[in-house]
Structures are given as structure tokens and as C-alpha cells.
């Protein structure tokens, strides 16, 4: 147990700005039903993405659980051992329902992990730029502009062409193309916050830059960056799916939704539509619910309204 130490921080730095603002944020969400609905949809989709793979009838990554003999069966067909393939099977004989559920989980993991890492890097860079200002700020932001100057899909594509396939490599590529977005937004809102009196007070108290950055600036300027993060997860998932579709993403043995869609492309012309259509629908539901929630959140936090 830690010895009791009276917290005197609030006597020195009035927390007036902090508390009401946060409460006000929550109130904003509560006031708008459309945000609540979109967040509810998002939560359902996210939970489904985590829980449903546990209930999947088959493990699509375990070669022993499916047979190549049962490849490209139409939806509703039955397997040799009596299981029904409600959405058909792919060219390897995988049950599409299971493959989609597992693929969705991979897409979610890649999207969330990549976004979290990129977010942390972006937040640190943005905070450092805003806190130190002048030269440091100029150099960092030039670099951010440089990174943002290139289309993410090309950078990730070329990067993965050099690195090879793999879930970790895809995450790395997404982090490389995304951190700069967060850095820019974080810097912008931290710059506004920096002008306020409580930061000046903290500086005059001789607090270290580290403390000011993470204890004062961060909690008060993080909301903007978190709001864009919702949309950015959708972008990350789209990017992963696209890279996998182009054949430089996740390995063939662990198909994500994008790779499943790609594997059905060659059979599309002969009318075996289900291999591409259903994983794509799952992907769209995932991306759309993220974008919808992100858009509603952004609307609510938009200071002009």
C-alpha cells in the first residue's frame, strides 16, 4: 500500500478547464440519438468479430478440418460428414461461414493493432512538436508533410513488396502510412491547448516538459485525435484488405476478408459468386459501421455546431 500523500496539484493548477469539458463531451454524445445508434451498431459488429469466430463450425486455418474434395460448393450444400455449408465453400474447400468469421477477426486485429501503434507514435510526435515548438516543430512537421504527400496504398504496396507477406508486416506498413495523420491532428489541438493559462501556470511552476506533455496537454487535447482514429481504423482495415487482395498482404494460409475476396475473383466469371460476394459484404459492414460512427462522432465534436 502506498503511503498517503495529499494531492496538492489541484491547489496549484486549477482543473477548471479539464473536468467540465469532459462531462460536456459525454453530454454531447448522449444528446444525439444518431450517435448512440451508430456506436451501438459498431459495438455489436466489434463484439461479433471477436466472439463469433469461437462459434465457427470449422477452423479455416487448420488444414485437417476441411477437405479439398469439397471445394467451391454452392451455398446450402452439405459436406460428407453432414455439415451444411450455408454460404458455400472456397477453392480450398473451406466453409465460407467459418472463413469469413476468422477473416473478419484478422481484419479487426490488423486494423486495431495498427491504429493503436500509429496513434501512440502520432500522439508523441504531435505532443513533442507542440511542446517544443520552433525548430523541432518545423522539422517534425516537414517530415509529416513529406510522409502525407504520398498515397498510402502505394507506400504500403512498395514496402510490402520489399518485405514480403505476413500479418506483422502488414501492420508495420499500415503504421508507417498512418502515424503522420495523428501527429498532425494531435499537434494542431495541442497547439491550441498550449496557449491556455493552465499550461503557462504549469510551466511557471517548473514542471518538466514531460509532465506538462503527458499530464496536462495530452488529456486535454486527445479527443480530436481519438475521433479521427475511429475513421482511421476503417481506413486501416480497407488498406489491409486491399493489400491482401493485391497479393502482398496476409499469408495465404490465414486468409483475411480481402484475401478471401481475391481468391474468388477467378471464379466470378463462371458464376461461382459466393466466394467473393459474402466476405466482401462482411468487409463492407465492418468498414461502414466504423465510418458511420466516426462521422457521427466527428459531427458531435465539431466546434462549429
Amino acid at each position: 500500500m502506498k503511503p498517503f500523500k495529499p494531492n496538492t496539484d489541484h491547489l496549484l493548477v486549477p482543473p477548471v478547464v479539464k473536468t467540465p469539458e469532459r462531462a460536456w463531451h459525454l453530454a454531447r454524445i448522449n444528446r444525439r440519438p444518431s450517435i448512440k445508434n451508430s456506436l451501438l451498431i459498431l459495438v455489436i459488429v466489434l463484439v461479433a468479430g471477436v466472439v463469433l469466430p469461437l462459434l465457427a463450425p470449422q477452423n479455416p486455418y487448420d488444414l485437417a478440418t476441411f477437405s479439398i474434395m469439397e471445394n467451391r460448393l454452392p451455398p446450402g450444400a452439405e459436406s460428407f460428414d453432414g455439415m451444411t455449408f450455408w454460404l458455400g465453400t472456397d477453392s480450398q474447400g473451406r466453409d465460407m461461414v467459418s472463413a469469413i468469421l476468422y477473416g473478419m477477426r484478422i481484419s479487426l486485429i490488423v486494423g486495431l493493432v495498427a491504429t493503436t501503434i500509429a496513434l501512440m507514435i502520432g500522439i508523441c510526435v504531435g505532443l513533442v512538436a507542440a511542446t517544443f515548438g520552433s525548430k523541432v516543430d518545423a522539422v517534425l512537421m516537414r517530415f509529416v508533410d513529406f510522409v502525407l504527400g504520398f498515397p498510402s496504398i502505394l507506400v504500403a504496396l512498395v514496402l510490402l513488396a520489399a518485405l514480403g507477406r505476413g500479418v506483422d508486416k502488414v501492420i508495420f506498413a499500415i503504421v508507417v502510412v498512418q502515424w503522420a495523420h495523428y501527429a498532425r491532428v494531435m499537434r494542431a489541438s495541442a497547439m491550441v491547448e498550449r496557449q491556455k493559462e493552465y499550461i503557462e501556470a504549469a510551466e511557471n511552476l517548473g514542471y518538466s516538459k514531460m509532465r506538462i506533455m503527458f499530464r496536462h496537454l495530452l488529456p486535454n487535447s486527445i479527443s480530436a485525435v481519438l475521433v479521427i482514429a475511429t475513421i482511421r481504423v476503417a481506413v486501416a482495415i480497407t488498406l489491409e484488405a486491399t493489400l491482401s487482395f493485391l497479393g502482398v498482404g496476409v499469408p495465404v494460409t490465414e486468409p483475411s476478408l480481402g484475401l478471401l475476396v481475391a481468391s474468388g475473383f477467378q471464379f466470378l466469371m463462371s458464376g461461382e459468386y459466393w466466394i467473393s460476394v459474402y466476405p466482401g459484404i462482411a468487409l463492407v459492414i465492418l468498414i461502414f459501421s466504423l465510418n458511420l460512427a466516426g462521422d457521427r462522432l466527428r459531427e458531435a465534436f465539431d466546434s462549429r455546431r
Binding site: F146, L163, A241, T242, V261, M269, G271, S276, F288, L292
Partner: protein
């Protein structure tokens, strides 16, 4: 103005140099091109020769200097697979990509801007809400899947439109184009739609939010108070003002569309430079990948410069010299 352009060109040169270093290290030092070029029965001696011809026995720095020296003279290497200069190969594919991109942008602007303007001016209606939410779906559809669904619907099920290739082309000023023949137009339709859909959504959202904001501005209120007709307010007051961000985004989107056409070209087997990039990545044709990245960077740098200059022309308040803000 001239000083500014000169400054920007200098900056662009630095960017190109930085990119050349990164891409050289990323692509040239990973793997072994000799494996690819020499036939499997080659003797050790032939291998050695190949290594020397390619200059792979030299230190990385020397290799880079050679590469840079050649690059400055416009030589970005020879394609391993096709045996022709990489730059030439990419330039020969460029018209197809540009045709796709230009038509997508035209299509997106012609549809997106009027719809956006209309709903932005009527933002209290139900229509506004529906279209705005629909536009989120517009950019949520992953390009590759949407392309495949277009093929499934219009080529496989309905048999209306062809699913791949450029169709019949005619030469316009020595450049082969598809849009002047009926067959070419039919081939162009699906890829253009596929590439344009997210941008239609973007144009709608951008124009709508611009129009909504402009309506609350004093100059619009004043014009209305003066008794200016609604049509004139929209055409002469609102539209020119909201056009500035639209032009900026359109310019920047041009570059993005070139990048994103890679996916569309792959789905529709459109023989553009994006398809070439993907094929080259599969075939480990490094000079083409490097040349593509360098060329794309160059195009981006030019587009950015162009957008900034157009900005200054459209909005007299923007001062190009002022770099402090």
C-alpha cells in the same frame, strides 16, 4: 512569384532525392536479382559475369551513386522482364491510366458537385440526411470488391458491358485512347465508375458542407438583403467561394486516383501503369518498380505545386511568399 516557384522546385528536388534513397535501399538491397536473370543452368562464371555487369559487386553507396547518375540523365534502368528501358515502359502505359483518371474526375465532379450543392442548400430536408449517410457507404465500399460486384452485375449477369481490357483504341495526337470508339467507351464505363464512386461521395460531402457554411456568411446575407435573386447568389456568390477547397481536393485527388487506379486496373485488367506496377512486383522486376515510384513522386510534386499556384489564382487573399503561417 518566380522566387516562390524556384524555391518550391528546389524543395521538390530534395524530396525526389530523399525518395530515391529510400526506394533504392528498400528495393535494391533486398533479395538477389541475379537469381532471376541468370538461367538456372548457368555456371558460376556466368553468374560472376552477371554480377559484374549489373554492378552488384560494388558497395551499396557506389551502386546508389551510379543509379543516381543514370537517373539524372533520365535512365532509371532496364526492365528485367521486358528488356526495354523502365521509363519508356511506364510512359507507354501512362495514357491508359490518365484516361481512366481524367474521366473518373470529370464524372465525379459532374455528378458530385451539383448534388452536393443542391443538398447543401436544402440541408434541413430528409434528402440531405439520406444522401449524406449514403455517401458514407460510397466511400466505405472497398474498391476491389466494388469493381468485382460491378463485373458480376453488368458483365456476368446482365451481359451489358465488357469486364476487362481497353477495347478498340484510336490514336489521338499519337496517343492511343479508348473514349473515341464505341467499343472503347463500353470498356471504359465500368472502371471509370469504379474509380469515381468514392470521389462522387467526397465531392458531395465537400460541396454540401461548403454550401452550408457559405449560406451563413455575411456576404450571402447581404446579397440576399440587397434583393439579389437566389440563382445569382448561388452562381456568383456561393459557388466561387466554395470552389476553392473543391479545386484543392480535386488536384490532390488526381494524384490519389493515379495511385488508386492500381486496384481498379488490376480488377478490370486495364493496361495502365498501375497494372504494370503490380505485375512488376510479382515478377520482381525491380527497375520498373523503382522507376514507377520515382515517376509517381515526380507527378505528385508537380501536382502539389500546381494546386498551390491555382489556389493563389482562385483566392487573391493567399500570399505565396508568406511561408510563416
Amino acid at each position: 512569384m518566380l522566387t516562390y516557384i524556384f524555391q518550391r522546385l528546389l524543395q521538390s528536388a530534395v524530396v525526389l532525392l530523399a525518395v530515391s534513397i529510400v526506394i533504392f535501399l528498400a528495393v535494391y538491397t533486398v533479395g538477389d536479382p541475379v537469381e532471376l536473370l541468370v538461367n538456372p543452368e548457368a555456371t558460376e562464371l556466368e553468374r560472376e559475369e552477371m554480377v559484374q555487369v549489373l554492378g552488384l559487386d560494388k558497395p551499396v553507396l557506389m551502386q546508389y551513386v551510379t543509379f543516381l547518375g543514370n537517373a539524372v540523365r533520365g535512365d532509371l534502368g532496364t526492365s528485367f522482364v521486358h528488356g526495354v528501358p523502365a521509363v519508356e515502359l511506364i510512359l507507354s502505359r501512362m495514357p491508359a491510366t490518365f484516361e481512366l483518371v481524367v474521366f473518373s474526375m470529370l464524372f465525379a465532379s459532374l455528378i458530385g458537385i451539383p448534388i452536393g450543392l443542391y443538398i447543401g442548400l436544402n440541408s434541413e430536408t430528409r434528402m440531405f440526411r439520406i444522401i449524406m449517410t449514403g455517401s458514407i457507404l460510397g466511400y466505405s465500399l472497398p474498391s476491389f470488391w466494388k469493381g468485382m460486384m460491378l463485373i458480376l452485375l453488368f458483365s456476368v449477369v446482365l451481359h451489358w458491358l465488357p469486364s476487362s481490357g481497353r477495347g478498340e483504341t484510336v490514336n489521338l495526337l499519337g496517343i492511343p485512347v479508348s473514349f473515341l470508339t464505341w467499343d472503347g467507351l463500353r470498356h471504359l464505363t465500368l472502371p471509370v465508375c469504379n474509380l469515381a464512386i468514392p470521389n462522387i461521395a467526397l465531392m458531395i460531402r465537400l460541396t454540401a458542407s461548403g454550401a452550408m457554411e457559405a449560406q451563413t456568411q455575411d456576404y450571402v446575407k447581404f446579397a440576399r438583403a440587397k434583393g439579389v435573386r437566389r440563382k445569382r447568389i448561388i452562381n456568383r456568390h456561393i459557388l466561387p467561394n466554395i470552389l476553392i477547397p473543391i479545386v484543392t481536393v480535386l488536384g490532390l485527388e488526381f494524384g490519389n486516383l493515379i495511385a488508386f487506379s492500381t486496384i481498379t486496373e488490376t480488377v478490370f485488367a486495364w493496361p495502365g501503369m498501375g497494372k504494370l506496377l503490380i505485375t512488376s512486383i510479382y515478377q520482381l522486376d525491380r527497375p520498373v518498380v523503382v522507376a514507377y515510384v520515382m515517376l509517381i513522386t515526380f507527378i505528385f510534386v508537380i501536382i502539389n505545386l500546381f494546386v498551390d499556384l491555382t489556389y493563389a489564382i482562385l483566392d487573391p487573399r493567399v500570399r505565396l511568399m508568406d511561408q510563416s503561417s
